[in-house]
């Protein structure tokens, strides 16, 4: 069973190598904490539909459906300076959106 550490490492810390396999059905407290901080600080909009749209997620899509694209987006974010500061962490905008979606709508990770 994936613990918080593994989840954090795979998703928020060393993210998209870990996401090469489908995200587990696990509690996402760590991501939700970061996402909650991002939402409370207004770093990204507290609008699930807008966040999903920014990621290119359809209404019924999950993150697992677009893992390959996410990897590229994260790399592109870092290359282009789309880096956000949330809860002390320097994260790509894409990652922050994911965390925010987890905070808003946990089942997006399935």
């Amino acid at each position: 069973m994936m613990n918080r550490r593994t989840l954090l490492l795979s998703a928020a810390i060393a993210p998209w190598a870990g996401l090469a396999k489908p995200l587990p059905e696990a509690t996402c407290d760590a991501l939700a904490e970061i996402g909650g901080a991002a939402l409370s600080e207004g770093v990204v909009p507290a609008d699930s539909a807008a966040l999903r749209a920014e990621l290119g997620l359809g209404l019924k899509d999950t993150l697992s459906d677009i893992i390959g694209e996410l990897n590229e987006r994260v790399a592109s974010d870092f290359a282009s300076g789309e880096i956000l500061y949330v809860a002390g962490w320097m994260l790509s905008r894409t990652e922050v959106i994911i965390c925010a979606l987890v905070a808003l709508d946990g089942q997006v990770v399935s």
Binding site: I13, E33, G81, S92
Partner: protein, 534 residues
């Protein structure tokens, strides 16, 4: 020759061509450069061969400004001076450090980096350093087969820090000083006052005092003050019998612009990816049999500083045994036990929630009384050292309290500005961005918080700079490009006190380079019969 000044008789006058005051790296380098010449050189040192409490006490004085070491701990007062407690880190200033920087008031040296290069080269041997491409870190990384971080070179560069053993100048050069035929070191002699002619344009002698010993005087054709960035302004300010504000202080610049290197250790924590460069060449000096030590650090490019309009900085990429979660646990425990107020409470809780390894390790160490980590994590914690900009209000000044000679002590009023805070934030952002962009790892830091303030402990280098700054003219400084005090024909200063700005580099090699340059000038002037500066 080395003489105990206490063995002289009351009222004795010591005569010389050159009088050097202060037996630290600046003074000893200058003396050794003049050894073997026809010049009669005396070096006046307050202390003896070793440490004595009563001598060190002469350094006491209050700190009135930003957090700092007690002044009698921030330097050492015996032969070798503060080289008796230095790190041995040797670096050269960068070319941009000498340039006027439009965004930094009072910046710009009247000499260039190129002017100092030949003296930097000669300074290497004084510090027992290797001389084969000593500052070419790419060459050495390749030769040693060690990793370097490869960040955007338009932003951040690797730089070599040469590691001196460290050379303790008193211990290392005592024999050379003893054996010199034209250099005499007088130990236990304290410079109390610089006497001048009635117009204060020429120094005519220095009054000396010995603890439990005679009062003496030294008279020379030329004088070089080499005591350091706090004691030099003190002596100039005390020498006010003819010049009321103090010698060389007609423009009220002596003792102003005190600057040091400050550091936040660490400024961020990085969870390294598996393929991140190892830290071997950054963590500690690396030695080969045929070379001295060296290690690497990360510094800004000149172009980056111009673009960002910030002060200079340096990152030491050190491993970190504790993670952000660890830190938070400690802060929370301390806070809950009433020892300290918990800074950024919500952030601490968030860290614990998002860093369970750190929390688990902290608890494990607590219950097991062990320093070992339960969960292995590859964290490193870059230290950020940064240049403090020239600040008119950052001062060394006399106070009413007096020492055993009745000499007024000095206070330090070190002041940081918004520019240093901006440098910290931008430097942190730039490195963190490069770390994430290049896939080295993930960064956690509190330095980018909007409400970030200086942490309870900001390290400092004990590099006392700026208090007799070098300048083209007397309007903006105390000494000229030759390190001669403006308006005084025969008074020179070799010290970090002449640095108008101090970049990221430890100052000692530059101090020695300036002393070597000064010795060349003294020899040339002596040959030209112009030692007295007429």
């Amino acid at each position: 020759m080395i003489v105990d000044a206490r063995s002289l008789s009351e009222g004795d006058v010591i005569s010389a061509d050159i009088c050097i005051v202060g037996g630290g790296p600046a003074g000893i380098t200058l003396a050794l450069e003049l050894s073997g010449t026809p010049l009669k050189v005396v070096l006046i040192e307050s202390g003896g061969i070793g440490y004595k409490d009563e001598t060190q006490d002469l350094y006491q004085g209050p700190n009135l400004g930003f957090q700092y070491s007690p002044l009698d701990e921030a330097r050492l007062r015996f032969l070798g001076g503060s080289s008796n407690h230095w790190s041995g880190h040797c670096m050269r200033l960068a070319p941009i450090d000498f340039e006027p920087r439009e965004w930094m008031a009072w910046s710009g040296w009247p000499i260039s980096y190129k002017d100092l290069v030949p003296y930097y080269d000669r300074a290497q041997s004084y510090f027992e350093l290797h001389t084969e491409k000593p500052y070419d870190i790419d060459y050495w990384a390749k030769r040693l087969g060690l990793d370097l971080f490869r960040f955007d070179p338009r932003l951040l560069e690797n730089v070599s820090i040469n590691q001196s053993p460290p050379t303790l100048f008193g211990f290392t050069y005592e024999d050379a000083l003893r054996q010199s035929e034209n250099v005499t070191v007088f130990l236990h002699a304290n410079a109390l006052n610089l006497d001048t002619n009635p117009t204060a344009t020429r120094v005519t002698g220095i009054d000396l005092g010995c603890i439990e010993g005679p009062s003496l005087r030294v008279e020379a054709k030329r004088y070089a003050l080499c005591m350091g960035g706090i004691e030099i302004p003190r002596l100039l300010l005390l020498s006010n019998r003819v010049s009321g504000p103090g010698l060389g202080n007609g423009r009220d610049l002596v003792g102003r612009f005190f600057a040091d290197h400050a550091a936040i250790r660490p400024v961020m924590r990085v969870l390294a990816n598996e393929d991140a460069p190892n830290l071997d060449l950054y963590e500690s000096p690396f030695y080969l049999d045929d070379v001295g030590g060296m290690f690497a650090a990360i510094v800004p490019s000149g172009d980056l500083l111009r673009k960002e309009e910030i002060a200079s900085f340096i990152f030491h990429m050190f491993p970190a045994r504790i993670s952000p979660g660890d830190l938070s646990i400690r802060a929370l425990v301390n806070g809950m036990s009433g020892e300290n107020e918990v800074p950024y409470l919500s952030s601490q809780i968030s860290n614990v929630l998002t860093d369970l390894d750190g929390a688990a390790n902290s608890i494990w160490r607590k219950v097991s009384n062990s320093r070992d980590a339960l969960i292995e994590r590859e964290w490193f914690g870059p230290w950020l050292g940064f240049e403090c900009v020239p600040n008119y209000d950052s001062t060394v000044h006399l106070v009413d309290d007096v020492d055993r000679f009745g000499q007024r002590r000095v206070a330090l009023n070190w002041q940081l500005t918004d520019q240093e805070m901006r440098t910290v934030k931008r430097a942190t952002t730039i490195l963190a961005t490069e770390i994430t962009r290049t896939g080295v790892g993930r960064v956690w830091t509190d330095a980018l918080r909007d409400d970030y303030v200086w942490p309870p402990y900001v390290a400092h280098g004990k590099h006392h700079c700026g208090t007799t700054r070098m300048s083209e003219g007397p309007e903006t400084g105390v000494v000229d490009a030759d390190c001669r005090v403006h308006g005084i024909q025969n008074l020179y200063i070799s010290s970090s006190s002449v640095f108008p700005t101090n970049g990221y580099a430890n100052p000692t090699v530059t101090i020695a380079a300036l002393s070597i340059r000064m010795a060349d000038k003294f020899r040339a002037d002596a040959r030209a019969g112009a030692l007295q500066g007429e």
